[in-house]
């Protein structure tokens, strides 16, 4: 436990606790998880805020993420540069949002970003198609995919603009019974 002080200053830890849904212990555990991805890159001393960024290839190979069809999107959304390369802050951010303590609205907001593949602030049909194909590993025929996408837009698009805005998405997702239980990663 002696090395606790050498990684973060107490102020840093407190700040992280205020900014995430983690306890001191969990933050340290996450830090070690982060460090384990690339021990030679990540220093053991974070008190002077070193500028370390891990590439997506390393992040995406975490066991928590590697079977997730949306892992690239998750990494992209949470990373500072939008390419999936993550600093420790991004890393903590990501798991904080995906932790089970995170509120529904926060999760819904990030879920929207994750499913918005082309970053145009709307989930349009092409985003939906991508989502379906990722979910089913391209097992559905194109007709089926487009049927599903049309149905989704029909169901959730409240303002009839042919695409889902964040509000549409939230309106739909807060009613979903198992959104909270599925949109979370235990670490």
């Amino acid at each position: 436990m002696g090395n606790k002080q050498t990684i973060f200053t107490p102020e840093q830890l407190d700040a992280y606790q205020d900014c995430t849904f983690f306890t001191r212990k969990e933050i340290l555990r996450l830090f070690y998880r982060y460090r384990d991805l690339a021990p030679q890159l990540v220093p053991l001393d974070y008190t002077d805020k070193p500028d370390v960024t891990l590439p997506y290839e390393l992040i995406g190979s975490m066991p928590e993420l590697k079977d997730n069809p949306f892992r690239q999107r998750i990494a992209e959304v949470f990373s500072e540069d939008g390419d999936g390369n993550m600093t420790l802050d991004d890393f903590l951010d990501m798991f904080s949002v995906l932790s089970e303590m995170a509120p529904r609205d926060l999760k819904a907001y990030y879920a929207f970003k994750i499913y918005d593949f082309n970053n145009d602030d709307y989930i349009c049909k092409s985003d939906l198609e991508k989502t379906v194909n990722k979910l089913t590993r391209n097992e559905l025929t194109p007709e089926e995919v487009s049927l599903v996408c049309e149905k989704v837009i029909y169901e959730a698009d409240a303002d009839n603009d042919g695409k889902l805005s964040l509000e549409d998405f939230q309106h739909m997702i807060v009613r979903a019974p198992d959104f909270l239980s599925t949109f979370h990663i235990r670490i």
Binding site: A15, D18, C19, F21, T23, P63, K66, D67, N68, P69, F70, D89, L92, D93, V97, L98, E100, M101, A102, D105, L106, A108, Y109, Y110, K113, N119, D121, Y122, L128, T131, V132, L135, T136, R137, E139, L140, E144, L147, V148, K151, V152, E155, A156, A158, D159, N160, S165, E167, Q170, M172, I173, R175, A176, P177, D178, F179, S181, T182, H184, I185
Partner: protein, 929 residues
Amino acid sequence: MGKKKKCALQVIMEDAGIEIDGQVESDTESEGDEVKDKTLKKQPLRETSRATRLERKKQEKDKEEDERKEEDSCSQHNRASRRKNYQRENSDGKKAGEEGSQQRERGKKAPTKDQKQSENTEKKTNKKGKEGENKQKTDRKNSTSSASSNSSDEESLSEEELAMLMEQVEQKKKLISTMRNKPWRMVKKLSVLREAQAFVEKFEGALGKGKGKKLYAYKMMMAKKWVKFNRDFDNFKTQCIPWEMKIKEVESHFGSSVASYFIFLRWMYGVNLVLFGLIFGLVIIPEVLMGMPYGSMPRKTVPRAEQATAMDFSVLWDFEGYIKYSALFYGYYNNQRTIGWLKYRLPMAYFMVGISVFGYSLMVVIRSMARNANESTSDGDDDNFIFSWKMFTSWDYLIGNPETADNKFASITTSFKESIVDEQESNKDENIHLRRFLRVLANVLIICCLCGSGYLIYFVVKRSQTFSKMQNVGWYERNEVEIVMSLLGMFCPPLFETIAALENYHPRIGLKWQLGRIFALFLGNLYTFLLALMDDVNEKLAEEDVVKNITHWTLLGHYNSSAGNGSTATPPPLDPADVPRGPCWETTVGIEFVRLTVSDILVTYITILVGDFIRACFVRFVNYCWCWDLEAGFPSYAEFDISGNVLGLVFNQGMIWMGSFYAPGLVGINVLRLLTSMYFQCWAVMSSNVPHERVFKASKSNNFYMGLLLLILFLSLLPVAYTIMSLPPSFDCGPFSGKKRMYEVIQETIELDFPLFVAKIFSYVANPGLIIPAILLMVLAIYYLNAVAEAYQRANAELKKKMQMQREEEKNKRNNKATTNPVLQDLEDLLTPSTKSESHTKQAEDKKIESPNGTRPMGKQGKGAALDGSPMAGGRGAAFSLSPHVFVTQPPMLGVRAPYPGQLRPRGHPPGPVPARGRGQPRYPHAAR
């Protein structure tokens, strides 16, 4: 003009008060009380200094008008000043706090304008400096920092400002505590957090301490613990459900319809386990432990003639020999009233257990039916987002191993396919007349089939009765009934399926029809079986009378012979194996059921092995060297036969219910059977079946299966009740031997073991004069409850329809609004109550500027950027970061501050180029009004 100023001020005060009140709710109460005290003290002070303030206000107004040419309306000014007030609080609250006491004095002394002015300018410069330091302290500040430079009055209202400062600190605290809920990047969060913490630290000492923080931390910790505990408990619960993973796996590959069979099987297993516990715990184990041992009396001994072969496997396989004379069958039990040192009343227990097996089964079936019905109605309303939820919530982010992920992919695909089938079915437009004609035709055909097979069974049974009277009949004649039955069972289901293809139902409904039809066919099976059994029993009963006399005479003869010898010693007892005994029809019936069950198990397993597994192997491996494609062509792989399996299970359970009274061990066999068939069938399905061509979703409640089960339960209750009530039990075997009827054991117990009045009460209760009214009452109650349920159902349907209509309407309205939005907006603005402003038109203009089109925020932002140079933190990121908590915080705030609905929005969230709020905002004013 002056009056209006006052109004504005009051509004400010109200706002402040409301704000504080709002905080009281969230924070500790002591702090809230403090604040309230301060607001009360404020009142007199305000009175005294109103005049000076008014003056100053006017002055300030002039200045502002100079500075901002574009803001021309008076009301706008008021609003702006109010906004400024807040903003000023935000920006120079620190300073105000420092100078608080000083200012108060000045306010009382009514200082000269010049003094004020100079102070103000001083402050302004200070302010600007500070602003530069902490530009993005809060959203609110961002939104209004533009106006800060020209706000310059009311520094003298120190109490007010103290309150404001307080409020400010509270806001910061709140911000700190909700920092983790903000969808910002960590960097931003950290910097904002630092600012807020610094602010709070600086002013907390002056204004009271942060009491809530520890409590909050504690609460958070407890919440976390609670969540964790819940999660562990849930995990534990799911782990306790047997075969959950197995069934999930099957479901992910074969769809919920196949899984529903396995769920049904599991449920059956549970029920049978309870029955098994009941029978073994209360009947078999007491008898084995405390009853007379084997060989002590005739009914517990294998007869002398059979003893030689009693241990042969072929005999045991037929459940004769030692098995027949064991605790597994009715005949083994003694009619001793009490056994063992516990004085356990075994005959009574046997009877009660036999009854309670039916009672429990009935209860459990009906209960689960009711629960299913409940679930299906409660889940029914929220099917508006089937596809959306499937798409966005079906992937479980917890999945962290490739196999599970594969299963999940398969299951998501399957569930999509199920929903697509449903969707296509509902969208199908077809020739309804042709369809109706075909359906009627199919039903006619099937009814013909059923009638024909019914008559065939009847005919064959009649014939077999005449055959049985004749001597030396051939093998075919003897087994004619069985052959006909199995032929019917083999050919009719596929025939029905072929005919059902005419109907073209949705596969889920088709399955129900198929189940119903095969059920009707199998009822014939049951009927012949029962008929044969009754014949058997009657024969045995007739035989018994004869044997009874023989036994009597044998025993008498034995004693006579020993007595006749003149010896004084007691005669050696006759060996129990030598005593002639009756046929014991109960045991015969029990053996019949056990045999049937066992053969059913074997047939089922062999069918699976040959029909599925061998076929799959053949198709798979011979395909390499065959003329045509076996996998796609003729034999192909088998599909899982849901209807056949479900019916097999249901009928098997019927056999168990009927037989368990005569063969208590039957339930044990059944438990074993269900257990093995769970594993065996799961394996067979996964290894050698292919999913249905149209994977369809099982109906939410498997009440149809339950309905079939209930019917079978009822049908199997009838013969057992008949034998208990109206057939005499065998005279020399079983717990009821020596009685006229089986149910007499109850009367006996009541007479011998209970006080007299219980017997009296019992005789009253059993009086038909009481029973018939009771039944009538029940019928009435059923009728009434039924009517009530129907009424509720109708109301429910009505409400659902209404909701649907409302949704559609809303959708349409929004749609129209999107097109005619500006026009409508104007109209609404014209209609607003005009008390707060003299000029409607200008207000309308303002409103339009603030209307959802995003022009106002844009303009505002632009201005803000121009005035104090605070940049919005990046175009896209900022836009995103604004929206989500808007939804959370907005409506309640607006609800509180009703008077200026459109006005106060900027305080709830910073203005920014918020996208996609085109229809969200116009709703709020309506709500507020």
